[in-house]
């Protein structure tokens, strides 16, 4: 076994008073002046750091590593207790010993994206040049930038080829970017509920969220951290609106219907009479306790800019030409944020590029969020796809 701990430049156990954004409760890899991150916006970010978690052990051949890419508001805490919320990891139903992404068999890595707020360099991190929080001075980042940073981390961990890169939503975008930018380093790819480009409708939803944040006077032109405020209401509204897009009409109806919240009759006020209102308010208010508003602006923007075809003369198939990566594309029937048609377009391009691709559409009424929920048919496919790839790659059962 490779002892990864020798590779860690820092194993930060943050005291409660320090900020997760600078000293996260996870592994951290720092990159000095000699290794800047060359961003698409033209700026070389240096120094910078990547916060990451690992589960399981890397085998001697270094052939069993799976990189998981988190979604917009996720982070590196895939399968452990979250240091801020105290809740379980965002994919702890699927990642763990004996689970479909089996940590007894695979070495699982997940890093906080560049631009995030859980320990990788982002707008909520301290700018080493000024000693102040970056805020809007942080350079704009893209999905390819996130993947470039992850590739530097993987280099540092001494891994040449990843057995699999997997993720849903914004994580799925990163998976596709990995497969397109580093085909020789990706043995298999599992892009879930995602697209090779952000649709106009999705950009529109993101813009609503951003405007809600920026309309909050407590945002203070993005300098709330310096003025001791936080745009709680704006970010909360952004989260409420976004949350609706992660669900589906049938799921909302099943969960809440038109039921009233702790009352027999409407109050004839703008109080949260309906259960669904109360639920959304809770989603909004709990989100602001764990997420930085500026980081939300940056990451939604990164998704908006994402368009793999645009980087290949508008021909998506060119992005995956002659790839040897094994793909399994997954979509969900009730997902209207990244509908099946988007996944089908990805599959079409992969096929045209000659890729070995499977495509499964999972029937569920749980909407976009289905990839984070307990959907047995989805779990079966993830397990089977990894098992089949593992057999080809010669990984021990």
């Amino acid at each position: 076994m490779v002892n990864l701990h020798t590779l860690h430049t820092q194993r930060a156990k943050a005291p409660e008073s320090t900020r997760e954004a600078d000293q996260p409760s996870s592994h951290v890899m720092t990159f000095g002046a000699d290794q800047p991150l060359k961003l698409d916006c033209g700026i070389a970010l240096s120094p910078f750091q990547i916060a990451y978690q690992t589960y399981g052990e890397l085998n001697a051949e270094r052939s069993n590593a799976i990189l998981l890419c988190h979604a917009l508001t996720g982070d590196q805490h895939v399968a452990n207790q979250h240091p801020v919320t105290g809740k379980g990891g965002w994919w702890d139903t699927i990642v763990g010993p004996g689970l479909p992404i089996d940590t007894d068999r695979y070495f699982v890595i997940c890093s906080n994206v560049i631009g995030g707020c859980m320990g990788s360099s982002g707008p909520f991190s301290t700018n080493p040049q000024t000693g102040e929080v970056w805020g809007l001075d942080f350079p704009f980042v893209t999905i390819p930038d996130m993947v470039r940073a992850q590739a530097m981390l993987i280099d540092r961990l001494g891994i040449e080829t990843l057995f699999c890169v997997a993720g849903g939503s914004m994580g799925g975008m990163q998976v596709l970017q990995w497969a397109s930018a580093y085909p020789h380093r990706v043995f298999s790819a599992l892009p879930i509920a995602c697209s090779t480009r952000h649709s106009a409708q999705n950009i529109a939803f993101h813009e609503v969220g951003r405007q809600a944040v920026m309309a909050d006077p407590e945002w203070r032109g993005g300098r709330y951290f310096a003025e001791g405020t936080r745009p709680r209401r704006g970010l909360s509204v952004a989260r409420m609106a976004a949350h609706i897009t992660y669900l589906s009409d049938p799921a909302l109806h099943r969960k809440f219907g038109r039921r009233l919240q702790d009352r027999e009759v409407p109050t004839f006020s703008f109080d949260a009479d309906f259960e669904v209102e109360s639920y959304l308010r809770h989603q909004g208010s709990s989100f602001v306790e764990r997420f930085d508003a500026n980081s939300y602006l940056y990451l939604t923007r990164a998704m908006d800019y994402f368009d793999i075809a645009a980087d290949h003369n508008g021909v998506l198939a060119q992005a995956f030409r002659n790839t040897r990566t094994r793909f399994c594309v997954v979509s969900f029937t009730s997902d209207w944020l990244f509908p099946t048609s988007e996944s089908r377009a990805t599959v079409h391009a992969l096929n045209a590029g000659g890729a070995r691709v499977s495509f499964a559409e999972i029937e569920t009424d749980k909407g976009h969020d289905a990839f984070l929920l307990d959907v047995p048919e989805f779990f079966d496919i993830v397990r089977a796809f990894l098992d089949a790839g593992g057999a080809v790659r010669g990984l021990k059962k």
Binding site: R326, C328, V329, R344, V347, H348, N351, A352, G354, R356, V357, S358, F359, A360, E361, I362, E363, E377, D380, I381, A384, F385, D387, A388, G389, A391
Partner: protein, 223 residues
């Protein structure tokens, strides 16, 4: 027309096939595919044929219309996508595969001729298996009962069958001529899945073959 003897094809199966029993027509098709080639199975169902092919070192891909079928294939580790032969084959580039297989699929397509033409464009070879509507039992049911035939292998009623374009072996041979496809091998299987005598004339095949299995190539004009 060239016809090659296909008897003995089952002996090609390696010992690893043992835990699973394969259908007679699948074994016949697999015997027509060169090991190590790239194959697209259009309408691959539960993936049994693809799985058999992969045991023989074939790089197989599948298209399947039903979501349940696709998910069962992916769960078997096969590279299968959900799609429709009538609408999706147009997206595949020329010569993308060594073989394109339509195993019990052609009769369920809306435009069999177009599908066949795409098959021979995408693959250098095509393999087609289909139920022969000229089989004597079909003829007898229509003649004596005056109703659309139903058999053990085709049990669906006319109003809920996915099979909308039935043909006879004779019809299929005619279509091959129309689209300039050359028949490198032709086999008729009887009710028990075993090939009929090769020396038998076409009318005999058309009457006693329950399934037709054809290995096609592009004809002279396409070469």
């Amino acid at each position: 027309m060239t016809m090659t003897i296909v008897q003995g094809y089952t002996s090609a199966a390696p010992a690893t096939d043992a835990p699973q029993t394969y259908r007679g027509d699948h074994l016949l098709v697999a015997g027509m595919v060169e090991p190590g080639s790239r194959v697209l199975d259009v309408g691959c169902g539960d993936g049994d044929l693809l799985r058999l092919l992969e045991t023989r070192g074939v790089d197989g891909r599948g298209i399947e219309l039903s979501r349940e079928g696709v998910n069962r294939c992916v769960a078997k580790g096969l590279a299968v996508i959900q799609g429709d032969a009538d609408t999706d084959l147009v997206d595949y580039p020329d010569d993308a595969f060594d073989y394109v297989i339509l195993s019990q699929t052609l009769q369920a397509t809306r435009q069999p001729r177009v599908v066949l033409e795409h098959m021979l464009r995408i693959g250098r070879h095509g393999i087609v298996t289909f139920p022969n509507f000229g089989h004597w039992r079909m003829r007898l049911q229509l003649l004596l009962r005056g109703q659309m035939p139903r058999t053990d292998s085709l049990p669906a009623t006319w109003y809920d069958t996915p099979n909308i374009h039935f043909c006879t072996i004779k019809d299929f041979v005619q279509l091959c001529r129309v689209i300039d496809a050359s028949m490198d091998r032709a086999v008729a299987l009887n009710t028990w899945g075993t090939p009929l005598r090769l020396s038998a004339p076409w009318w005999f095949w058309n009457l006693f073959g329950e399934q037709g299995v054809f290995l096609l190539n592009r004809g002279g004009k396409g070469r």
